[in-house]
C-alpha cells in the first residue's frame, strides 16, 4: 500500500488563535482518523490555583486569555461568591454585564473583521482586507475601540482588567464617566447594524450541524453573566448541576479534555448555541437585524457564525447603552465576602461560549480544588465532527484547497486555543 504524508502547515494558519494541530488520515475515500490537537492552559491553572486565597482566582484566571479575561474573572467571581453564600447587588451585577459587553464587542469585532471575514472575501489576511477595503477595517478598529473604552472605564484597563474583585469592584465608575461613552456607543450601534448587513452578503457553504445547542438562559435577558444552563433539547438545570450533566474525558491527542453530555452526546456552546437557545431574548433591534440578515430563530450552520457574532455585537452595543442610561451609582463598590468552607459553581457566557468554574474552599478561604471548563474544550468534539464532514465531502480537492477549507471550518468556532501559543500545523495523510 502506498503511504503518502504531506505537511500542509504553517503560515496560512495564523488566523487561528493559539496553538494546535490537525491530523487527518485519508484511506482511499474514507477518513480513518481525524484529530484536532489543542494544548490548553486551564489544566495548568487548575493546579496553579490550589492553595491560593479565595480572592485570587479572578486575577489569576484572567491571565488565561488576553482576549477574554473578563469571562474568566466573571465566572471565577460567581463561583467563589456562590461558595461563600453571597449574591451581589443588582447595580453591581449590571456593571458586570456592562463590562462583559465591552469584552464581547472587542472579541467579536476582532474575529468578525480581522480573522473570519477574510475567508469570505478571498483575502489571505487582515492585511489584504485592509488593502482592498480600508474603510471596512477602519470601521472595525473604531468599533473595537468602543469595547476597549468600556473595559477601560469599568475594568480599569482594556487588557486584563484590574478593577474586578470577588464581591464586585474596587471602584465603581461615576455616572459622568459612563455617559462619556454614550456618543461613541451610539455610533457603534449603527456600525454594528451595518456589520450585520455587511456579513449577511457573504456566501456561506452549506453545512447544518445536529449538535445539541447549550447556553445560559435568563428569564428576561440574552444571558451573559448568569442564568440556568439550557439547551434546544429541553435541558434546563441550575449552574451547580453542570457536572451532573456534562463530563470531560482525556483523549490521547490533546491536553484539552473533551466534554460530552453524560451518557454520551455531542454538544455545542458559543454564538450558534446562544442564538438558538435565546433568540427570543435578543433585543428587538438585534432580532430584527438577524431576520433581515436571513437568520431564522435558530442557526445551525457554523459558517454563518460570523452573522451571529455580528448580531451579538449589535445586541451588546444596544445593551451597553441601556445599562449606561439606566445607571445609578452603586451604594458600595463591592459586597463583603467572608470565606467559609464550601463548594461554588459559576457559569458565564464568554464570547466563545459557556465557561464553567468550580472552586472548593476551606474554612479560611484557601482553594482546595479548582475545575475550569472552557468553551473550546466543550466544542472540540463538535469541531472535529465538522471537520470530518468537510473532509469527506471534499475529498476531490487538492491538499492545499482542502487544508484551507479545514482552516475555515476551524475558524468558524473562533477557537480560543490562544495563550497556549502560536501556530497550527495541519497534516493530511493520504494512503
Amino acid at each position: 500500500m502506498t503511504h503518502q504524508t504531506r505537511d500542509l502547515s504553517l503560515e496560512a494558519l495564523s488566523r487561528v488563535e493559539g496553538e494546535g494541530a490537525m491530523h487527518v488520515v485519508i484511506d482511499g475515500k474514507t477518513v480513518t482518523d481525524l484529530r484536532l490537537q489543542i494544548y490548553e492552559p486551564p489544566r495548568f491553572f487548575e493546579a496553579f490555583l490550589r492553595g491560593r486565597a479565595y480572592t485570587e482566582p479572578p486575577d489569576i484566571t484572567a491571565r488565561i486569555c488576553g482576549i477574554c479575561p473578563v469571562a474568566y474573572q466573571m465566572s471565577a467571581c460567581q463561583a467563589i461568591e456562590s461558595a461563600c453564600g453571597v449574591v451581589v447587588d443588582e447595580p453591581l451585577r449590571a456593571l458586570r454585564r456592562l463590562l462583559y459587553c465591552g469584552e464581547w464587542i472587542e472579541s467579536h469585532v476582532l474575529h468578525i473583521y480581522l480573522l473570519h471575514a477574510p475567508d469570505f472575501l478571498g483575502a489571505g489576511s487582515a492585511l489584504e482586507l485592509a488593502r482592498e477595503h480600508r474603510d471596512v477595517v477602519e470601521r472595525a478598529l473604531r468599533l473595537k475601540k468602543v469595547g476597549n473604552h468600556i473595559m477601560d472605564v469599568v475594568g480599569g484597563r482594556s487588557v486584563h482588567p484590574v478593577n474586578v474583585r470577588v464581591g464586585g469592584f474596587y471602584r465603581v465608575p461615576t455616572l459622568s464617566e459612563l455617559r462619556g461613552l454614550l456618543d461613541e456607543l451610539r455610533w457603534a450601534r449603527d456600525a454594528a447594524l451595518e456589520t450585520v448587513r455587511w456579513v449577511s452578503t457573504f456566501t456561506f457553504p452549506d453545512l447544518e450541524v445536529a449538535h445539541e445547542m447549550v447556553a445560559l438562559r435568563h428569564p428576561s435577558e440574552y444571558a451573559v453573566v448568569d442564568g440556568r444552563v439550557a439547551s434546544d433539547r429541553g435541558l434546563d438545570i441550575p449552574v451547580d448541576a453542570f457536572l451532573d450533566h456534562f463530563e470531560e474525558e482525556h483523549v490521547a491527542h490533546s491536553t484539552a479534555l473533551h466534554a460530552h453530555r453524560k451518557g454520551g452526546g455531542r454538544y455545542l456552546v458559543g454564538p450558534l448555541a446562544r442564538y438558538t437557545v435565546n433568540h427570543d431574548r435578543l433585543p428587538a433591534l438585534a432580532r430584527e437585524a438577524a431576520a433581515d440578515a436571513g437568520l431564522g430563530p435558530e442557526c445551525r450552520n457554523p459558517f454563518r457564525s460570523i452573522v451571529v457574532r455580528a448580531v451579538e455585537t449589535l445586541a451588546a452595543c444596544d445593551d451597553a447603552i441601556g445599562l449606561i442610561e439606566g445607571y445609578e451609582e452603586p451604594e458600595r463598590p463591592a459586597v463583603p465576602v467572608e470565606p467559609r468552607a464550601g463548594v461554588g459553581h459559576g457559569i458565564t457566557e464568554a464570547p466563545r461560549g459557556l465557561l464553567y468554574h468550580r472552586y472548593e474552599l476551606d474554612e479560611d478561604g484557601a482553594v482546595l480544588s479548582a475545575v475550569i471548563v472552557p468553551p473550546t474544550a466543550q466544542n472540540q468534539d463538535a469541531i472535529e465532527s465538522d471537520l470530518r464532514r468537510v473532509v469527506v465531502e471534499n475529498l476531490g480537492l487538492r491538499d492545499s484547497a482542502l487544508q484551507h477549507l479545514c482552516e475555515e471550518a476551524i475558524r468558524n468556532y473562533d477557537p480560543c486555543i490562544s495563550c497556549s501559543a502560536h501556530f497550527l500545523d495541519v497534516t493530511v495523510e493520504r494512503r
Binding site: 504553517l10 503560515e11 495564523s14 488566523r15 487561528v16 488563535e17 493559539g18 492552559p41 495548568f44 491553572f45 496553579f48 491571565r63 488565561i64 486569555c65 488576553g66 482576549i67 479575561p69 472587542e106 476582532l110 480581522l114 480573522l115 489576511s125 487582515a126 492585511l127 485592509a130 488593502r131 480600508r134 477595517v137 477602519e138 478598529l141 473595537k144 475601540k145 476597549n148 482594556s158 487588557v159 486584563h160 490562544s418 495563550c419 497556549s420 501559543a421 502560536h422 501556530f423
Partner: protein, 161 residues
C-alpha cells in the same frame, strides 16, 4: 530647535507562557533607567491594541520574545526600523504570535492604514520554553539584563537624551 521625538516602548507577550514573558521582564528591568519622557507600556493580548498604544508616538520600540532561523534561546537582536523592513519579517519570526495576528502582521497592517509611527524598532529575545507557567528559562533569564541595558542605551539615543 526641533522638539524631542515622542518615544514609546511597548513590551509584548504573556508572562504566563514562560519565555513569552521575556519582553515584559526586560522592560521591568529597564524601567528605572528609562530616559525621561519615554512612555513604557505593555500589550499582553490583542495586538491590534498596538495601534492605540503607539498612536501618539514618533518612535515605538517593541520588546518581544521571538524565534528566527538559527536563533539560540537567550540570543538578543535589535531590528532597526522594523516598520520599514516589515516585509522581511514573517509572522512567526517576528514575535510569538499568540492571538491570531502577530507583531509582523500588525506592523504591516498599521503601515497600510497609515497608522505606523515614523519609526518602529524591535528588540527581540530568542525564546526557548513556551510552556504554560511563570518564570523564564535559564537561558532567557540570563539575557534579560544585557537586553535591558541594550534597550536603555538605544532608547537614550532614540529619545535624544
Amino acid at each position: 530647535m526641533s522638539a524631542a521625538p515622542r518615544v514609546v516602548v511597548i513590551a509584548v507577550g504573556n508572562p504566563m507562557r514562560r519565555d513569552d514573558g521575556a519582553g515584559m521582564a526586560v522592560l521591568e528591568r529597564a524601567r528605572p533607567s528609562l530616559p525621561e519622557g519615554v512612555r513604557a507600556l505593555s500589550c499582553g493580548g490583542d495586538l491590534t491594541d498596538l495601534l492605540d498604544l503607539w498612536s501618539e508616538a514618533d518612535v515605538a520600540v517593541l520588546v518581544d520574545a521571538a524565534r528566527w532561523r538559527g536563533c539560540v534561546p537567550g540570543e538578543v537582536t535589535w531590528v532597526d526600523d522594523a516598520g520599514r523592513g516589515a516585509d522581511r519579517l514573517s509572522g512567526r519570526s517576528a514575535g510569538l504570535d499568540t492571538h491570531g495576528i502577530g507583531v509582523a502582521e500588525m506592523i504591516r497592517l498599521a503601515r497600510t492604514l497609515e497608522r505606523l509611527p515614523a519609526r518602529v524598532d524591535l528588540l527581540a529575545l530568542a525564546a526557548g520554553d513556551d510552556a504554560q507557567g511563570e518564570g523564564l528559562s535559564p537561558a532567557v533569564e540570563s539575557a534579560v539584563g544585557p537586553a535591558a541595558d541594550l534597550l536603555v542605551t538605544r532608547l537614550r539615543a532614540l529619545a535624544g537624551a
